[in-house]
Amino acid sequence: MALETTVIEQKLTDKFGYKVTGFVQMKDILSFEVSADSVNDTMRFLKEDGVLRFNFLTDVCGVHYPDNDKERQFAVVYHMHNWMDNVRIRFKAFLDGDTPEVDSVTNLFLGANWQERETYDFYGIIFKGHPQLKRILNMDEMVSFPMRKEFPMEDGGRTDKDDRFFGRITDNATN
């Protein structure tokens, strides 16, 4: 028998109470929010519970919400997949804007190693307990976390996009 979303929700609520909230079914995937301090426990429960059996960590990624309240400015999103029942699940943990820190899940899934490094690389989110938290895709000399909204996407060293070369200065000045 397929794993029902009501069962998942009930089991998580029974186990973690108020720490898991906001259950919502979006298309064919159940999503919920988990408090940052119980990410590791939640994932362990999802993985090791005999009924839930979410045996595969599909993805770890970050989101930056600069307009949110200070303590909810970053989110880490986890996607998991139950191969036996072919059911997917997604949960978010919101982190503080000044000190975005969350426990690493590398103790549960070794595959989280590079995914957490990538999230650190682009958002500066610290994964506590990660064995080697350093940049993975960008060059080591980079000082910014480029996917944070306050950093410009464009490179400051660009020299051939001067408005004068495109005849834009005059129009801009008169308008």
């Binding site: 910014s144 950093f151 996407m153 464009e154 490179d155 020299t159």
Partner: protein, 183 residues
């Protein structure tokens, strides 16, 4: 059998010819020899590299212009062709390849990305390879057609032909290298 008339060889440089002798400038002879046997080192990272493969293949045939053999070792190459987007993380590797080449060495930036960063005006992409190594010829296009790449190589051959044999030890050249921190 090919007709003898179809075979073209490069003409002799300007000079004084007489019975049993021919006199010309050393610069021109050296330039002629260098220009017609440029060994290319392709540094291909994306679609411009695919266009370069067409340039090397039978239809366009770069070998007609004296670039017969690809050299995949920078130590045996004269002409570095950089084709494609160079990420900032790649820049030190490109620079190392250039440093391993022996003098005289020339660089062609093929396509918009290698020349200026192209459409990738972003934090992770090098905004033109001339930020890390000196470039002799820029080939525009996104990607350039094989004809344009050939045109770039022919332009470089003109540069090579007219280059003085002393250029590489001139103060101007030393200054150029120093501006890139290459010794």
């Amino acid at each position: 059998m090919s007709d003898q008339k179809d075979i073209k060889i490069v003409g002799a440089p300007a000079g004084i010819e007489g019975q049993g002798f021919f006199a010309t400038k050393l610069d021109e002879v050296v330039g002629l020899a260098r220009a017609n046997s440029l060994w290319p080192l392709p540094f291909a990272t994306s679609c411009c590299g695919i266009e370069f493969m067409a340039t090397m293949a039978a239809t366009y045939d770069l070998a007609r212009f004296g670039s017969e053999r690809m050299s995949f070792s920078p130590r045996q190459a004269d002409m570095l062709l950089v084709m494609g987007t160079i990420a900032k993380k790649m820049a030190p590797i490109l620079r190392q390849v250039y440093e391993q080449m022996a003098e005289p060495r020339w660089v062609i930036a093929v396509g918009a990305c290698a020349s200026s960063g192209g459409i990738f005006d972003t934090y992770s992409v090098l905004q033109g390879i001339d930020k890390v190594i000196p470039v002799d010829v820029y080939v525009p296009g996104c990607p350039p057609r094989p004809e344009q790449i050939l045109d770039g190589i022919l332009t470089l051959q003109d540069i090579v032909k007219s280059e003085s044999v002393r250029r590489r030890s001139s103060p101007e050249y030393q200054e150029l290298m120093a501006s890139y921190n290459i010794t």
